[in-house]
Symmetry: C2
Subunit: 227 residues, 2 copies
Amino acid sequence: MGEVKVIKVNESIFAENDRQSAFIRERLSGQGTLFLNFMSSPGSGKTTTLVTVINRIKDRIRIAGMDVDIESSLDAQRVADRTGVPYLQIHNGGLCHIDADMTARALAEFDTEGIDLLILENIGNLVCPAEFDTGAHHNITILSVPEGDDKPLKYPLMYTVSDVVLINKIDTLPYFDFDIEKAKERILKLNPKAVFFPISAKTGEGTDAFCEWILGEVDAVKAGKTR
Amino acid sequence: MGEVKVIKVNESIFAENDRQSAFIRERLSGQGTLFLNFMSSPGSGKTTTLVTVINRIKDRIRIAGMDVDIESSLDAQRVADRTGVPYLQIHNGGLCHIDADMTARALAEFDTEGIDLLILENIGNLVCPAEFDTGAHHNITILSVPEGDDKPLKYPLMYTVSDVVLINKIDTLPYFDFDIEKAKERILKLNPKAVFFPISAKTGEGTDAFCEWILGEVDAVKAGKTR
């Protein structure tokens, strides 16, 4: 019988993505730029969270951001208008995620030299973005109270790959059946190192602690201490 | 120069999917079964909506359902426990959608003869499921108030392919900036034939009108009047 050559397409896609994302991360670490990838369901409050957080720390560090969307530029415009920081809109033409190659192409269009914090607002989706390392130093997932505390059970990979979970819209806790302790417990089973910040991006509650975490990580990158 | 052969991979995938979905739809129409595909973001209330709706009409028609999830069986169990109707859990192993082939394979495992209404609860995602015709007679999207009225601008394909939009969690309207008229206007630009039902799956408000719509469509399928 002849020899059969087997190509594992998925593996090679992910291996290539891993190489590229490691390269991005190394380059950004080298220039002292912390890169954070924000992921969540549609409507969990990524944009509002970023506006609130950026406005609290923009006088202390230099910030730039990138937003991925299918075809609209609403979110990038919203953040740029409300914070004044430079923002790049990436249109991915209907894809459900952004990978390291797309991130690298965006970075080629965008001057990040001298930037302390680079933000990526990923597409609203709990499945696909979790599969692709974008080159960020940390993945941050936003879980909003109205979505329910069962999301970690249903979209486990997202919570496995996220270091930080922002539990957002805590101002609406009285109106929904959402058990913060249950959510934490489910997430810690997937990622024992996960760190939590219960916040309300709308009222600002809880965002100070998250801002302190970001500033600490910026210092860590500059000290060469982040992965 | 030699001839270059070009294969449009996407087109052929979708053409094959269209053939299979048309076949499923025809078969179900032939046996008088209405097939509805429910899509939405994670946490918009698909499962709660289905429990409420099924319990309101299960004494008038015979119902069965299928739920797609990555690896958990929570939702199918929840619906089966709370309604008593037969439910099939489909695990798609990490994919972000279900296509006609997966639907056909699920239907091969599941006796739908004599069923008046077959429900598919798709994976929580506003991007991928919109791309694949599952063979359903109608696509139904649930847009929940906490997600915001801008979702049609950001995930246009989902609203373009949906005939019915359930605006869910209207009991929380006082706590969120959500303009129902603005949402409707944005959706009607994408699909001028879209029909709306503002509901609260939790309190039951508004679900009667949607139940009447379903019963009308069941009659239409049996009369051979649905596509």
